[in-house]
């Protein structure tokens, strides 16, 4: 589904990713772990098409097609979803209308008409229940005044609504207490099936107790320095990152 080849990227003159190779197949859950500053968030932003970062070398293929020249919205339309580490507050746009716009723009890109309001409301109710989201929450301004946990739950709610093929969860566990973490993880697990894939980006092993990865990769200094099964996460939790340097 996702194939990253020798990816180099950075900001201005500073190279952050120094040759990443990664293969993710449908039905798999991958985790990328690494210390602060290793390039985890840069990788997720580059996959989603954030133009702040400059890609200097390499390629990203999504379903066998290079998406390097695609805008963020085109990547979203193809089925790439990024759950933000720091979701942006947008006063004046309610959660419901934001998601309505996102869904209808995605449908428009596929030549479909807007989703009928009735169907949309039904879908919203269904997915909100999955993530134990209160109805009032949906009429609030997007992320404005949300707690850390609410923001992350809202990200996964959007993921549930948009049903992406590839979901990248960037530090989704940060700012979550254990109950919220369980709700979020439970939501992700329920949405997971053999046709989609998840890439979990995290500093700690904690989230991986709930979203169990098939593969774990360690990112250090812009490169994947080690890959393995889920047991690698436990090893990192125990020994830290120093032994890999």
């Amino acid at each position: 589904m996702l194939s990253i080849k020798n990816l180099h990227a950075g900001l201005e003159n500073k190279e952050i990713l120094r040759g990443i190779d990664l293969e993710i197949k449908a039905g798999e859950i991958h985790a990328i772990m690494g210390p602060n500053g290793s390039g985890k968030s840069t990788l997720s932003a580059v996959i989603a098409g954030n133009e702040t970062y400059e890609v200097t070398q390499g390629d990203i293929l999504f379903e066998n097609e290079s998406i390097m020249e695609f805008s963020p919205e085109e990547r979203a339309h193809k089925g790439v979803f990024l759950s933000f580490q720091y979701p942006v507050e947008i006063p004046g746009v309610t959660v419901t209308n934001f998601i309505k716009t996102a869904i209808n723009e995605t449908r428009k890109s596929k030549g479909l008409d807007d989703m009928p309001a009735k169907d949309l409301l039904k879908l919203i109710r269904e997915k909100a229940a999955l993530l134990e989201i209160d109805r009032n929450f949906l009429s609030r301004s997007l992320n404005e005044g949300f707690s850390g946990g609410e923001k992350k739950r809202n990200e996964i709610f959007q993921m549930a609504m948009l049903e992406p093929k590839l979901a990248i969860l960037d530090e989704t566990d940060s700012g979550l207490d254990i109950d919220a973490l369980k709700i979020v993880a439970n939501g992700v697990n329920k949405l997971k099936n053999e046709n989609n894939a998840v890439l979990v980006i995290t500093h700690y092993q904690r989230l991986l107790d709930y979203i169990v990865p098939d593969f774990v990769h360690v990112l250090h200094n812009g490169k994947i320095v080690k890959s393995g099964g889920k047991e690698l996460a436990f090893e990192l939790e125990e020994k830290g990152y120093d032994w890999l340097k």
């Binding site: 989603a48 098409g49 954030n50 133009e51 702040t52 805008s71 963020p72 919205e73 990547r75 979203a76 339309h77 979803f81 990024l82 933000f84 979701p87 942006v88 947008i90 006063p91 004046g92 746009v93 309610t94 209308n97 934001f98 716009t101 996102a102 869904i103 723009e105 995605t106 890109s109 959007q158 948009l162």
Partner: protein, 438 residues
Amino acid sequence: MDLKEKLISSFLAFENSTATDTNIHQIRTESFKLFEQNGFPSKKEEDWKYTSLRDVLKPDYRIFSSVESDVNLNDVKKYFIHEIDTYKLIFVNGVYNSLLSTTTHEGVDICVMSSALVKPKYKMIVDYYFNKIINKNQHFANLNTSFATEGAFINIPKNVVVSKPIEIIYFNTGTDVELMLQPRNLVVVGENSHVQIMERHQSLKENTVLTNAVTEIFAHKRAIVDFYKIQNDLETASLIDNTFVSQQKESIVSVNTFSFGGKFIRNNLEFYQEDERITSNLNGFSIIGKEQVVANYTLVHHKQPNCESHELYKGIYDEQSTGVFNGKIIVDRDAQKTNAFQQNNSMLIDDNASINSKPQLEIFADDVKCSHGCTIGQLDHKAIFYLRSRGIPEKEAKALMLYAFGNDVLEKIKIPELKKRITKIIAMKLKVDLSMEL
């Protein structure tokens, strides 16, 4: 001949054609004397520093329309809030159009100035209110008074909730080249009464027009007045809009100004609080581009204790456009316990656009709460990326952000159909096909 000279000779001709033994004649003559002395404001005056009138005053304006007004309902219907029933006062090239209008004299007077100025039964009202709260330092208001003949006359006695909103629309057919229009509105709202008014100036064809409008609003005890100004004219139209509000005890007056279209717009909006526990609301939202200019000059004069004023102006400036916000608040020594809030937020979305924002607070009382805030920002790229990563295209994402920016001003609109209409104008202005009702 420059415009001032032309106005002087026109005034003499105009005065010869009207009755000279009336109070109105007296008022016009005095006002014209002031205009003659002071002329048009220059950039040397502090209040006109940011708005050069050079281009606005250059054309060879016709002072009186030469054209008999004739417009087809189908051509102008789109400018009405036709989804709801309203009273309508429609003027075409400065002349009242009875066919398009819906007036009334049942319990309330919603009619025209030209008849109010001459009919004996309105003499008392006219004598009592006409030109009574005009700031004599406003050059354009004096000029308007000099030629005041036509406009809306709205007189609501006490204890009346006017059953439907009033639409005042001034059309300019554009058949007259370089026309100057000077409409004059008088709104008197009695004790406990409530009225909603929408005002619009609209050119139908691209031809230079300068409108110099004056509106006087008197709100008596506990009266509620909601006034909406929809400024979305063609690029050949300039507007100088002067509005003066006088408020009595516990009255609530809101003036909401939406500026999107027009070459040059200058709004002079002045509130005078004459008694206690009064609320004044001033809201504005502008989205402009190209070489458009929108200037909002406001004054709230707190004269008595325990009053409030809430002021919120937001603007989005693209291309080479210029915005001006000048918010003056005066709190007299007797006006203790005043709450005065003022906020001006601007977004510059092009490096060539500019905004001049100036709060001006003169506070002589010591037990008051007054605050003012001013921000100038740009589109947040992180937020744009966030929206795009959810599949919302760049143009739509930006439009959504801009709409959201002005949303709290739009929330002040109490007529849902008007809010929808303004939302539609915004979508057109931002060139997106989005349902923006957020």
